[in-house]
Assembly symmetry: C2
């Protein structure tokens, strides 16, 4: 079929031509080979931000600076707590079906969105909870922080520490890959009180220290240390 | 049917008679009402210890003092590491089917058995890992310790802290209730290197501190603090 005949001459031209980013009208000045356009545009800082509320019900898109005004105007029910160290209280965790709990945390001059998502799998045999933190900011800004989520009970503690996601990439792929705090209903019940689950959330500045343990050590030389 | 007719006179007699523990021949001197026998005998320190290796393949039973000699003689392949802070390296975690990894850790004059168990659920759709520590000792001795299991990767860390189980109660009920470190294959892959998963294990003496935050505080007054 004619559509499958390759135009090698045109391909050769295309492989040397630099194309503008599709967000050039928003301010991006990058030009690139067409083979690089997909990756760039997915990560391009001029790509509009979507509403960071989990679940795809809100279709809003806009600039980063407009995200907080959008949340404050259109999602007024979201609670905000101030401080680096707060408690994210998820009420009625036994509610059936898929449920999202959301809260905002403000510290270090930034706004973080805390998300707890409950999913049902294998019919409704397995209920899994996923907890994660995303920064209302760019990926580069998110890399400057670390977060800790902690479930604490009688002589038991479950802790997850990681880098916040930027709302530009969102949390859905992290939840899909279990790259967040994951726990099932049994664990939720171990730590819940009266059907409510308190998650201690601590945001900190991420500090990377590189230890060269021994110059001639047979072991990997880099060791990452968290200072939270 | 005659078997269902209650002998109320005999029941009244039985409710006042004290029975000896069925482990009296092993040294238990407790006597109790027949209604209390079940609970006591399950927890009775004179009840023989079973082999603590997970999976029910070894049917050995004996006194607490005989457990370590049994392990050393009959389960020679189990590695032992000395120290409070060691790495439990589980190799080939992608092996199909249900698999147990076991290691011994010796510190504070005691022996601890580290168990990592992989289970397949919902056909083989979900693979879950359960990691837990049990003390070769009594429940009372186990209460004096705390353990921490830690998966550590690039800017990610998952930590579980709890009280070791005594081998007298075993780990199966804790695993069944997810009262241990639970993670799925995606998380295992996040932290594994070349198919092997290193779990940092730290044993510590458990210290309980009771803070009376404020005498007239509206919040619960007790707060448990871990000193690990």
């Amino acid at each position: 079929m004619p559509g499958n005949i390759r135009n090698l001459a045109m391909e050769k031209v295309a492989s040397t031509v630099l194309f503008p980013c599709k967000f050039s009208t928003s301010g991006c000045q990058v030009t690139m080979l067409h083979t690089d356009k997909g990756d760039h545009e997915e990560a391009c800082e001029y790509r509009p931000y979507s509403c960071p509320c989990p679940g795809a019900s809100c279709k809003w898109q806009g600039a980063l600076e407009q995200v907080m005004p959008h949340l404050l105007n259109q999602h007024r029910s979201i609670t905000t707590l101030q401080g680096e160290d707060i408690v994210f209280l998820a009420t009625d965790i036994a509610l059936p079906g898929a449920v999202d709990w959301i809260m905002m945390q403000s510290c270090f001059g930034h706004h973080f969105m805390l998300v707890l998502e409950k999913q049902e799998k294998y019919g409704d045999e397995l209920q899994q909870f996923f907890a994660i933190v995303q920064l209302i900011g760019t990926r580069k800004q998110a890399d400057n922080f670390a977060y800790r989520l902690e479930l604490s009970g009688h002589r038991r503690r479950l802790t997850w520490e990681a880098t916040p996601r930027s709302i530009h990439e969102g949390v859905s792929s992290a939840i899909l890959n279990s790259d967040c705090l994951v726990f099932d209903t049994s664990i939720a019940q171990l730590f819940a009180e009266n059907g409510n689950l308190g998650i201690n959330v601590t945001i900190s500045i991420y500090v990377l220290i590189y230890f060269e343990l021994e110059r001639h050590s047979p072991f990997p030389l880099a060791k990452y240390v968290w200072l939270c």
